[in-house]
C-alpha cells in the first residue's frame, strides 16, 4: 500500500486533490471540483453573513432602534477610503492572475505582493478604527451588531490574507505556470467574495 501511495512523489501547484494510488475518477461534470468546492464554501459563508445580517435586521428594523446608537458616530469617510483600498486589491489580484496566465512571472509576483499589502492595509485601518471609534460592543446591541458584522468580515479578511500569503510564498518560490494556476484562481475567488461582502457590509452598516 505504501508503495502505491509513494509513487506520487512530488506535487505541484494546484494539485490539492491529487490522487496517488486510487485510479483517476471519471469526470462526470465539466466543473472543476476545487472550483465547485470553493463556490459551495462561499455559499455557506454567505449564510453566516446572512445570520449576522438577521441580527442587524432584528435590532435595527424590527425593533426600530436608532442607528447608530444615540451619541455615536460611524467614520463613513475613513471606511470609504478603506473600501477603495480593498476594492483595488481585487483589481491587482486579477492583474496577477492574468499575468501568470500569460507567463509573466515578474508581474505575477508583483501583483500578489501588492494585493497582500493592500489587504493588510485594510485590516490595519480597520483595527485602527476600532481603537478610535469611541464605543465598545458592550455599550448597546447596535454596537454589538457593528462589531459583529465588521469583525466577522475582518476575520474573513484575515483568513483571506493567510491564503494570499500562501499563494505569494509559492509564487516567489517559483510555483504556478500558465498551464497550472488553479492554486491562484481558487483563492482569488475567495478574495473577490470577501471584497464584495465588504461592499454590502459598508453600505448597510455605514451608509444606510
Amino acid at each position: 500500500m505504501e508503495a502505491v501511495s509513494s509513487t506520487a512523489g512530488l506535487h505541484h501547484a494546484g494539485e490539492a486533490e491529487h490522487h496517488h494510488g486510487p485510479p483517476a475518477a471519471h469526470r462526470s461534470s465539466r466543473v472543476d471540483p476545487q472550483l465547485l468546492g470553493m463556490l459551495l464554501f462561499i455559499i455557506s459563508e454567505i449564510m453566516v453573513f446572512g445570520a449576522f445580517f438577521t441580527a442587524y435586521f432584528f435590532i435595527r428594523v424590527v425593533d426600530g432602534n436608532p442607528w447608530p446608537a444615540e451619541g455615536t458616530e460611524l467614520p463613513k469617510l475613513i471606511a470609504g477610503v478603506n473600501t477603495a483600498i480593498l476594492l483595488s486589491s481585487s483589481i491587482t489580484l486579477h492583474w496577477a492572475l492574468e499575468a501568470i496566465r500569460r507567463g509573466n512571472r515578474a508581474a505575477f509576483k508583483a501583483g500578489m505582493a501588492t494585493t497582500f499589502l493592500l489587504g493588510a492595509t485594510f485590516l490595519f485601518v480597520q483595527i485602527n478604527e476600532y481603537v478610535h471609534i469611541g464605543f465598545a460592543p458592550s455599550n448597546s446591541a447596535q454596537a454589538s451588531v457593528f462589531y459583529g458584522l465588521t469583525g466577522l468580515h475582518g476575520a474573513h479578511v484575515a483568513l483571506g490574507l493567510m491564503i494570499l500569503l500562501m499563494v505569494t510564498v509559492r509564487a516567489f518560490r517559483g510555483h504556478f505556470s500558465p498551464e497550472e494556476h488553479r492554486g491562484v484562481e481558487v483563492p482569488g475567488i475567495y478574495w473577490h467574495f470577501v471584497d464584495v461582502m465588504w461592499v454590502i457590509v459598508y453600505c448597510t452598516v455605514y451608509l444606510l
Binding site: M1, E2, V4, S5, S6, T7, A8, G9, H11, A16, E17, H18, H19, H20, G21, P22, P23, A24, A25, H26, R27, S28, S29, V31, P33, L36, G37, L40, F41, I43, S44, E45, M47, V48, G50, A51, F52, T54, A55, F58, I59, V62, D63, N65, A69, A136, P137, S138, N139, S140, A141, S144, Y147, G148, L152, M166, V169, R170, R173, H175
Partner: protein
Amino acid sequence: MTAKLRAPGWYRAALFILLGLAFSYALVGVVRTLMHYPDAWSDGNAITTVSLIAIPLFFLVGLGCFDYWFYYAAGRPTRAEDHSSHGATSWKAYFRVNTDHKVIGIQYICVSFFFMFLGGLIAMLMRAELAQPGMQFVDSATFNGLFSVHAALLIFLFVIPVFAGIANYVLPLMIGAPDMAFPRLNALSFWMLPMAGLLLTASFFAPGGAFASGWTAYAPLSTDMPLGQVFFTIGVQFAGASSIATALNFLVTIITMRAPGMSFFRMPLLVWANFSTSLLVVIATPFVAASQFFVLLDRALGFNFFDAFVGSGKNGSVLMYQHVFWFYSHPAVYIMMLPGFGIVSEVLSVKARKPIFGYRMMAFSLLAIVALGFTVWAHHMFVSGMQAWIRVPMMITTAIIAVPTGIKIFSWLATLWRGVLHLDTPMLFALGFLTTFTLGGISGVMLSMIPFDIYVSDTYFIVAHIHYVLFGGSLFTIFAGIYYWFPKMTGRMYDERLGKIHFWCTFVFFNVTFAPMHLLGLDGMPRRVADYAEQYATLNLLVTIASFALGLSMLVFLYNMVASWRGGPRAAANPWRALTLEWQVSSPPPIFNFDAVPTVVGGPYEYGVPGAVHGIFQSPTEAKPTPAGSVATSPTRE
C-alpha cells in the same frame, strides 16, 4: 522519543494539547494585561473558553490533519506518505488520520454509536428519576443538564454524523467513484467530531454543571448559564464545521465523480437523499454556527445581542436568537431524516424485489422538502411572542411540507404492493420505520395547527413527536442501513436471529415508551421538568419500565455487531442480490473500490425486470459482477 513527537500521531497530539493549553493561558493573560483587566492571569472562565477553542484545533494539528496543507502552503514538496495512508490493514488504522472513505465511514459510525450509547444511558438516568413523582436520584439542576446533554449528543453526535458515516462508506461506491472528492478534508471532518463529543460530555465536569438550557440553548438563558454552556456553544461549532465540510465534499463528489452513464436520474435514491441533505447542510448549518457565535460573543466579550432588559437600555433582541436558531434547526430535522429516506428506498426496493415506485417523484419530493424546509421555521415559535402575522403563513407551509413527505410514504407503500417481501432484519426495520414515522408525521401535522400547538406547547406531546420522528424515524432507518450494509462493510454476515429479536424488542418497547407520552402531553405534563404531579404517576412508571427494556434491547444489537464482526460467517459479495454498484465488488470492497471504473447502463432499481443491469465493468475479466451466494475473499480485513 523526539521522532515520535515530531511525526503525526497520538504522541504529537498529546504534546499539542499541552501546547494549546499553554497558548490559551498566555493569550488570555497577555490580552487581559494589555486591557488592564483585574486578575489578568487567573480568570478561569476566560482561560477555559479560549482553551475550549484552541485545544481541539491544536489536537487536530498534532494528530496530523493539516500536515499536507502546511507543506503545500509553504511551497514545500508534499509527500504522499505524510498521512495519505489509504485503507486499513489492522484495527490500529482506525485510530489514525486516514483518507480512505471506507475507513472514515467506519470511524464515523463507531464514534457516533459510542455517543448513541452514552446518550441512551443518560436517557435511562432521566427515566429513573421520572419513574415516580418527587425527587429521587438527581436534583433538578442536574436533571436539566441531563436532558440537555442527552439531546445535544444524540442530535449533533449521533443522528447527523452517523448518516454522514453510512453515506461516506457507500456513496462513493454507489456512484462508481474511487473515493470522495477531497479525501483529506474528509478525514479532517471526521476528526473534529470526537472533539465535539468530548466537549459536550466534559461539560458535566464544569463548575456549575453541564449546560442546562436544552439542545435549543435559548438566549438569554444560555448567556446567563454557568460555564458548562460554553462547552455546548463551542462543541456545536466543531460538529457544525464538520458537517458543513462533509456536505460540501458529498456535493462535489456527486456532481463531479459519477461513473460514466450514471446520469442524475440513474443515481440510487440514497445518493439523491444525501445530495439534498448536503444542500440543506451547506445552506442552513451556518445559521446555527452564527447563533452560537452570538451567544459566545455575549458571554465572552461582553457583546449585547440578547440583552433585551428594558432597564439596561441595550436594545438586544431575544426573538432574534430563536429565528436564527430555528432557521437552522427546522432544516436540521430534515438533515436528520432525508438520508434515512434514502436508506429506506434502497432497502424496500431490494427486499421487495420490485422497482421503486415513482423514482422521479421520489427524487423531486426530496428537492421539494429542501426548498420548503426553509419556509417553516417559525412553527417552533408559535408561543414565543413573535409578530402574530407570521403564524398563519408558517402554519400553512408546515402543513404543505407534509405533502412531499406523504408522496414518499405512498411511493414506498406502492413499492411494497405485490412485492415478494423478504422479511429479514433490514426490511423489518424499514417497515417499522414506515409505521412509526407515519405516526410521527401525523403528530407533526397536528402540531402545525396553531390552536393545537398552543395547547400542547412544551408538554410531553412534543417529546412524543420528537421521538416518533427521530427514534422511530431516523434511528430505525439507521438500524436498517447498518444491517443492510453490514456484510459489505465488514465482509461478515450478522446473526439474523439476533437481528430479529433486536427489531421486535425495539419496535414493541419503543411504542410502549413513547406512545403514552402523547397522552401525558395532552393531559398537560410539561417537558424538561424533573418532577411532576401525582396524576401522571401510572403512565410514567410504565414509560420508565418500557424505556429500560428498550435500552436493554440495544445490548442485543451491540452484541450482534461485535460478535458478528469478529466471528460471523463470511459474507458474499452480493448477499441481497442487489443491483447498485456497491454490491458488484467484493465484501469488503478492494482498497480502491473498483479495479476498473464501471459503466452504468440502466436504472438502479430494475428488480424483477428480466435481464436488467445497472452497471457493467469495462474489463469483465478483472471485476465481473459476483453472482449471489458466492464467497468473496476479504482483501483488507482478516
